[in-house]
């Protein structure tokens, strides 16, 4: 208990239960495996190594869900010859979470070659996860050869355009965006005019206090444009979200965890369940990073997200499959 006290709020200028020091500390920890919970106006952060000591009540918010990403079913190269095995390990990890997540988000690159049997395999493996509902957005590997037709047939029921949609859970508004279609030579990810118009309209009627979770495959912030790790028209999308007090953006694509806070917007990228990619600029290309077999699961992972009503930011926890 005495250790927890160190993380308690010292200055609460905005009366939102978060002081800058506490928030930055929590965010800094998130990158190395931390768990942040806000309750009763107090922000607490815990190292992942101490999670086993925490009670279920400590860990649970009012809404808990899991993000998985980049399962790349069908990939069979040395970086990971068994992507089905590591996806199964991710499901085991999810089922072991004490927070009992209600549903999953898959932020794309479900398959490696958009083959029907690859999607089938992922569907079969995810059926064993405790949370039954999965909300998908496509990655560029899911829309090969057919402009995303198959993806839409499988996962896009009720969605608009190339597969974008929104839904509400316990007062949180979720928005799934598609930024892997109609890519232009020399460019980055693209949302496009139609989707941006839909987004503006979708959030227009919401109260500014509604927490938003935006999820899409390619990062909606400029992680490393030289490798295509960004979205050309994301600034326009974010402009529509400016008025909201709490926006959490969840992305995949770069096969590593990364965080950034900009005003009321918190950006996260999730690890892949298939293979890691190098840090920006730290290799000749963003191709699969080969690590010794015994280290592979330590660089793959899942992301667990908790929301406590009335609080500012959602608690986002990355944990490896090791």
């Amino acid at each position: 208990m005495s250790e927890k006290k160190k993380d308690q709020l010292l200055h609460d200028h905005n009366h939102d239960g978060v002081d800058r020091r506490g928030f930055l500390k929590c965010m800094a920890w998130a990158g190395t495996g931390a768990f942040c919970v806000m309750k009763g106006g107090v922000l607490n952060s815990y190292s992942l190594s101490r999670i086993s000591e925490m009670s279920a009540a400590d860990m649970m918010g009012e809404l808990s869900f899991v993000q998985i990403s980049d399962s790349h079913m069908g990939f069979n190269k040395p970086a990971n010859p068994d992507v089905a095995g590591t996806l199964k390990a991710a499901v085991e990890k999810i089922n072991a979470l004490s927070g009992a997540p209600e549903f999953m988000l898959h932020t794309g690159d479900i398959s490696h070659f958009s083959k029907p049997e690859e999607f089938d395999t992922v569907d079969q493996i995810l059926k064993n996860a405790t949370p039954k509902d999965v909300f998908y957005v496509p990655g560029e590997h899911d829309v090969l050869n057919d402009d995303g037709k198959q993806f839409l047939e499988r996962y896009g029921k009720g969605s608009k355009g190339a597969g974008w949609y929104s839904f509400d859970k316990k007062g949180v508004h979720f928005i799934g965006l598609v930024n892997v279609m109609n890519l232009k030579a020399g460019g980055l990810g693209t949302l496009g005019h139609d989707q941006l118009e839909w987004l503006e309209d979708d959030v227009k009627h919401l109260k500014h206090s509604t927490p938003l979770v935006v999820f899409a495959h390619v990062p909606l912030w400029s992680v490393y444009p030289e490798w295509g790790w960004g979205t050309d028209d994301s600034a326009q999308a974010l402009a529509y979200l400016k008025k909201f007090g709490s926006v959490t953006v969840l992305n995949g694509h770069i096969h590593q965890t990364m965080q950034k806070v900009e005003g009321n917007v918190t950006f996260h990228t999730a690890a892949s369940t298939a293979f890691p990619q190098p840090q920006p600029g730290k290799a000749d290309s963003p191709g699969p990073m080969k690590v010794p077999a015994e280290q592979l699961r330590s660089v793959l992972g899942i992301t667990d997200v908790n929301y406590v009503r009335g609080q500012h930011a959602l608690a986002v926890v990355d944990s490896s499959l090791a």
Binding site: K77, P78, A79, H112, F113, S114, E140, H141, L144, N145, L183, K184, A185, G186, G187, L188, P225, E226, W227, G228, D284, S285, P286, G287, P288
Partner: protein, 120 residues
């Protein structure tokens, strides 16, 4: 990053020029054209090499994906003069250029990857 790539492309173009492609050195051009009517572009580390390839009219260009990740070869013009299927590791795509012109292309999965074929 982009600058170094274009310099590599320029160097490749100069090299090809020196070998007699499309530079009016007719004595070399005829025999070289027969020998190398199939020209190669390698896809390595998320880039096309050479970035700019100059070929004679009628040449067939073959792209080979040597990455661990699938790529495509798609011309950027609206009518999509050429468009490969998705190329897995070591898969190839060929296209024969029958008209002079400049043909920019890219990988539609990783659009930062761009290249150019100059046919003259």
């Amino acid at each position: 990053m982009r600058r170094s790539v274009s310099i590599a492309g320029l160097a490749a173009a100069l090299l090809l020029g020196a070998l007699g492609f499309g530079t009016g050195q007719k004595s070399y051009a005829a025999s070289a054209q027969e020998k190398t009517s199939t020209m190669e572009v390698k896809i390595d580390n998320f880039s096309f090499g050479p970035v700019t390839l100059t070929v004679p009219i009628g040449a067939t260009v073959t792209w080979t994906n040597r990455d661990d990740i699938p790529h495509t070869v798609v011309s950027t013009d609206d009518s999509k003069t050429f468009k490969s299927k998705v190329l897995d590791t070591d898969e190839k795509f060929s296209f024969t250029f029958s008209k002079a012109g400049t043909y920019p292309y890219f990988c539609s999965i990783h659009p930062k990857m761009t290249g150019k074929v100059i046919v003259q």
